[in-house]
Symmetry: C2
Subunit: 228 residues, 2 copies
DNA sequence: CGCTGCTTTGATTCGTATCAATAGCAGTGG
DNA sequence: CCACTGCTATTGATACGAATCAAAGCAGCG
């Protein structure tokens, strides 16, 4: 059983919609689990045994083809919700990109609990609508943008979603929780193309790449311009 | 005010979750409206004044760039729900592809009504989850599939979603509610590439193209194979 | 120090976009 | 019924961007 009182994401996760009694009930159903970087929590086509809240770390949602091609269709951060409630099989693979910690529930119990708690469903609905908006805008990127536009858009998006490296919202840049191949899988590019675009942007002074995974945007206007 | 009793999509739309009294209340809030082919119901960035159910026709959800590039991010069929409930601005343009008929609601009134009717929210949640799954699988297509795979996937998807041309589920093929440019905008291709792929498939005997918009799949296995 | 795995750079190929022209159909009016 | 017009679809030639193939550079680690 989880210790909801000490939960780091309590106020931002869907659980925030519950009063103390309800939270206690849900808490009894869930348990914390560590997921090592690279390990998979849910497989595509699984009979969706679980749903979960993310407490720590970053996970990816992946759709894979038979021949090995992969497209990352979503990133999941702390306080985000994972899984497919209401009786469908898991539509994609969920894999940890960093060491992560999640609070998992048996799907059936969760469904039943949700059924009895409209507030929870409402929170879930809001989240799902936001995710849908995000996914659809990413479709525009995947279908219509050039490699340079893709990379520029990606950098701005990551700067917004990732915690700033030196705490405040200063100009410290940010640290990606994954490598070049993953960027490529997010953008629908190859690793080489992704790399070349980044190199070019550095050469043009738009960004600094202080280390493999760290990025600092120097000229936000130019990058936004490039994002199309 | 709408005449819910005579509504053709009543049993499939989100309204199906309501009892007669509730339906009557919602009915008072909504009104039917025709939308001509090509006309836009909702603009991207609008303060999302309305939501609606589709009664008849097909509409598209479009994300457009400043320079005119367009990506269709969703198709909306009868009984589907349109709009962005809960206080967000409309994230995409909604345009009718055929003459259509919708049952529209003032968004604020609808939000408030939904707030009081958990069943409705639940239906909405189910739909939104399904749409999200669909969108994310389409991301795989847009980011990773080749032109031929895209077109093959598209044909199978349309055959499944569109009514069969001769009523039954026989081999009569189906009729697209839109032209080649729109297919291209769905697949993230140009009209020329789309066209060439279709021509090739016809030459290979995989499909017949009896008229501009009609399509008949001859070799479903081969097409599925091609879809990757 | 020398692995090992990731990243970067380079040379070449290939697929799709682009540009341009032609063909075919639908609607209009003579 | 046919000529005319406008639009959509098809076909062709070429250009360009990204993928692929190949090799070298670089960091982390035993």
């Amino acid at each position: 059983m989880s210790d909801c009182a000490s939960c780091t994401v309590r106020c931002r996760a869907i659980c925030a919609s519950l009063d103390p009694d309800e939270a206690a009930e849900l808490g009894k159903m869930g348990r914390r689990q560590r997921v090592r970087a690279g390990h998979t929590l849910l497989w595509e086509g699984d009979e969706a045994p679980t749903v979960a809240n993310v407490l720590k770390g970053v996970l990816k949602l992946v759709v894979a083809a038979a021949d090995g091609r992969e497209q990352i269709v979503g990133l999941v951060f702390p306080s985000d919700f994972i899984g497919r409630p209401f009786g469908k099989q898991s539509p994609y693979r969920v894999t940890a990109m960093t060491d992560a910690e999640v609070c998992i529930f048996n799907r059936k119990s969760f469904d039943e609990f949700a059924e009895r708690h409209p507030h929870l469903q409402q929170k879930l609905l809001h989240r799902t609508l936001d995710e849908l908006d995000r996914a659809r805008h990413w479709m525009m990127l995947l279908g219509r943008k050039s490699a340079s536009e893709k990379v520029a858009t990606f950098l701005l998006d990551m700067e917004e979603r990732l915690p700033n490296v030196d705490g405040t919202n200063a100009e410290g840049g940010f640290e990606l929780p994954f490598g070049r191949q993953q960027i490529a899988d997010i953008l629908g590019l190859t690793i080489e193309t992704t790399c070349r675009q980044l190199t070019r942007m550095r050469a043009d002074g738009l960004v600094d790449l202080p280390s493999r995974r760290a990025i600092r945007i120097n000229d936000r206007v130019a990058v936004a311009d490039m994002a199309g």
